[in-house]
Amino acid sequence: MRKILGITALLIVVCVITSLASSSFLSAYNLENLIRRTALFGIISIGVAFVIVTGGIDLSIGSVVCLVGCGLPWLLTTHHWSVPTALAAVILVSVGIGLGHGLLITRLRLPPFVVTLCGLLLYRGIARGFTQDQTVGFGSEFKALRSLATGQIPLPFLSGFALPAPWIFLIAVAVLAAIFLNRTIYGRYLLALGRNEDAARYSGINTRRMIVLAYVISSTLAGLGGILFVLDVNSAQPVDFGNFYELYAIAAAVLGGCSLRGGEGTIVGVIVGAALMQVLRNMITLVTTHNNIEFAIIGAVILLGVIADELVKRYAARRRAARALAAEGAG
């Protein structure tokens, strides 16, 4: 909770500063844009959070976004598959990718970094192969399908503001993820094995199966993200579609309180982290005329956030340790 408070405060501060500096920040149009982007990045960030909770890492997310983002229009426009078949195919591929990662990591004991790094190269390469490196897109077709990402849901009491459709996906994913992580025994297993895989195994937890599950969740959500991204942007270029998105996702998860050492993470925090990244990028465009310093600002803000968090954590740990000692009555 405390971790979420910190990042939420940071998000609010950035929002307040931006709205003071730019009157358009709080316009309905801009808020809709921000919500849509946060939703898209939030979905893939929640996915990677599951892997991070186990103490692993998934570097292949951007490439899965690319594979799915190129694969969907390619199947629909070049091969004229039906919409349900094409959607099922790309989701199935995403699930399969996670399954492959998980099995390589748990059965062959390969390091997650290596497995997913190879995935990063592999899936983008495959996407570039089957598209022959050509941009694929929907043109002016598939309006109905695209409304999954571009659609707007009017709100009853708010005129002039409509909720972007991807937000619905994010909320659904987030609610399911939060219930899974906090209310089911499997979520508890994930948190436990992320802290100490051996102790979890000695307690009778099938740690391998849980780790495989985490990678499946990660790549499946990356696949869902890929679908929504390409539906939103309308075209995908295999060379760079989704480039770096794994890093945005990991950054959002870490900002949101996931420890790269494993065992810690909250879904709400991850969404706030994703939102912070998007608001920062938006702020730079709205407030300054130098969007080339964007990465520098994002990097600096994240670093400051992490430093502040670490300091608070140390302080809290010292106090907790002292209280515990006192409580044990030790001398």
């Binding site: 436990a192 051996d198 000695y202 009778g204 065992g263 106090r319 209280r323 000692l325 001398g331």
Partner: protein, 509 residues
């Protein structure tokens, strides 16, 4: 009479919320071995850290040969000839022995490290500690005991006059420990003084010229050589008489619960092990470190599946390929490495206690929070886990309380067979006693208990029956009426009951 080599008076030290030392004093003469004992949290470690310059006292004074000194850093303490040998060894295991001995103060020649000189001098110090290895041996090739001796050689290389050893035998085999004791005797005869911290009262009894007992950050009393007995030490440590330390009552053995036939572990695939465990029985398993006891337990528990043989629980054949399967059959294991295999340090007591039983208490995959809460309340009181509340993170509990959490986790499942691997290692005497009490209590309810221990007194005090292992084989079984140190050591070393150097110092007199 000249001033003692080292004298500390009225040391106090507080940490946030805790007064670790409340006016502790200590003297150490030249060529003397003084053991410092006390329960966990009594202030031993704090005292040692102050003397070694790791921490500074809030008040009080330290004198060396009658002159007050301020030991405000490890470097200053070293300059005064005081060296601390940590419980966790501090060697760089990728470097060789000589490089470790001179780490950080390498003699140079022409701006480069003078390898010849390092090796020459290292050899001298290695000889002094009786370690017969080449200075060029990489440290990772040494056993823990040998590494301990390297640490001591390192201390000698800075002309240490006072060696402070914190639980030096905690991870040594009996043979290695015996070797260490020889070195300690030898160093003492050469005028080196030593402060020796240990939980193993047998060692203390065999080694110490004097015993300083701490309790709750204060001096509880000193024992001169002639007064050092197990009972006297325990009495000072816990502040009461422990006539019934091992409250053993024989248990009438019930039906066979665990039948092991021809079991071969992956580490010792050539040796088949047979034994039977009956309901309500407490069986000890003795042997030297490396005898294959842990491997046997891990094979039973499916951690490292056995390569052959049969295991029956209540007559049902099982072949556990994972702890999950063993647990389903009614087994539970309190593993040797508590911090890495037993508890999840960063998680709360409640979450640790419920971890193994989440599956059976689940409601269609969802957590049963009501049950979790009830369970942790029950275990906290039944096991007397000392913590302000069950959301306390396990990391901040003492070793004994952590071990109780591990036990509580298994009790929730009501196992038929409880396997314990070194259940009292590194925990204080009060907690030990509570764990013994629990084992007794469980056996009375019909649980079959098999416990591995390297502390012979524990084996002697608790078990109805004792199995002894040597190099992967079960070399014997001793009924309670056959049980004696000599008999166990004979089987454990697979030799005649000879003047083995192992048995003498490691055991209580």
């Amino acid at each position: 009479m000249t001033a003692p080599l080292l004298r500390a008076t009225r040391l106090t030290k507080s940490f946030p919320g805790v007064r670790a030392l409340r006016g502790v004093g200590l003297t150490l003469n030249r060529g003397e071995v003084v053991a410092v004992i006390g329960e966990n949290g009594a202030g031993k470690s704090t005292l040692m850290k102050i003397l070694a310059g790791v921490q500074t006292p809030d008040s009080g004074e330290v004198q060396l040969e009658g002159h007050p000194v301020v030991l405000d850093s490890v470097l200053v303490a070293l300059r005064h000839g005081i060296a601390l040998i940590h419980q966790e060894l501090n060697l760089a295991d990728n470097l060789d022995v000589a490089a470790n001995i001179f780490l950080g103060r390498e003699p140079l020649r022409n701006g480069l490290i003078d390898r010849d000189r390092i090796e020459r001098e290292a050899a001298v110090h290695l000889k002094a500690v009786g370690l017969d290895v080449s200075p060029r041996t990489p440290v990772h090739e040494l056993s823990i005991g040998q590494q301990q001796l390297v640490e001591i050689a390192k201390a000698l290389s800075v002309q240490a006059r006072v060696l402070i050893m914190d639980e030096p035998t905690s991870s040594l085999s009996s043979g290695e420990a015996a070797k260490l004791f020889t070195v300690i005797h030898d160093l003492r005869s050469r005028g080196v003084s030593m402060l020796y911290i240990s939980h193993r009262l047998g060692e203390v009894n065999a080694l110490a010229d004097r015993v300083v007992v701490l309790r709750d950050g204060e001096n509880a009393g000193d024992l001169e050589r002639a007064d050092i007995t197990h009972g006297a030490m325990v009495k000072l440590m816990v502040g009461r008489d422990l006539s019934q330390f091992y409250a053993h009552e024989p248990h009438p053995p019930g039906r066979p619960v665990l039948e092991v036939r021809g079991l071969r572990s992956r580490v010792h695939p050539k040796h088949a092990v047979d034994f039977t465990l009956r309901a309500g029985e407490i069986v000890g398993m003795a042997g030297l470190v490396g005898a294959g006891r842990t491997e046997l337990l891990e094979a039973l528990f499916g951690v490292t599946p056995a390569v052959g043989g049969s295991i029956r629980v209540d007559g049902q054949e099982i072949q556990p390929q994972s702890p999950q399967e063993a647990i389903a059959a009614g087994l539970a294991l309190v593993p040797e490495d508590r911090k890495h295999q037993g508890v999840i340090l960063e998680m709360a007591i409640r979450d640790n206690l419920s971890l193994a039983s989440l599956r059976q208490d689940q409601r269609r995959g969802f957590l049963n929070r009501v049950r979790e809460l009830a369970l942790s309340g029950e275990m906290m009181s039944r096991l007397r886990i000392k913590a302000p509340h069950d959301q306390q993170v396990v990391q901040f509990l003492s070793g004994g309380n952590q071990q109780k959490v591990v036990l509580g986790k298994w009790l929730a499942l009501r196992p038929k067979v409880l396997l314990l691997d070194e259940p009292t290692r590194g925990i204080d005497i009060g907690a030990k006693q509570e764990i013994y009490r629990l084992m007794e209590e469980l056996s009375r309810t019909g649980v079959a208990i098999l416990f591995v221990s390297s502390e012979l007194e524990e084996i002697l005090g608790l078990s109805d029956r004792t199995l002894v292992m040597h190099e992967g084989r079960l070399t014997g079984e001793l009924r309670r009426d056959q049980l004696s140190e000599e008999a166990v050591m004979h089987l454990a070393t697979n030799s005649s009951p000879s003047p083995s150097p192992l048995s003498t110092p490691a055991l209580p007199a």
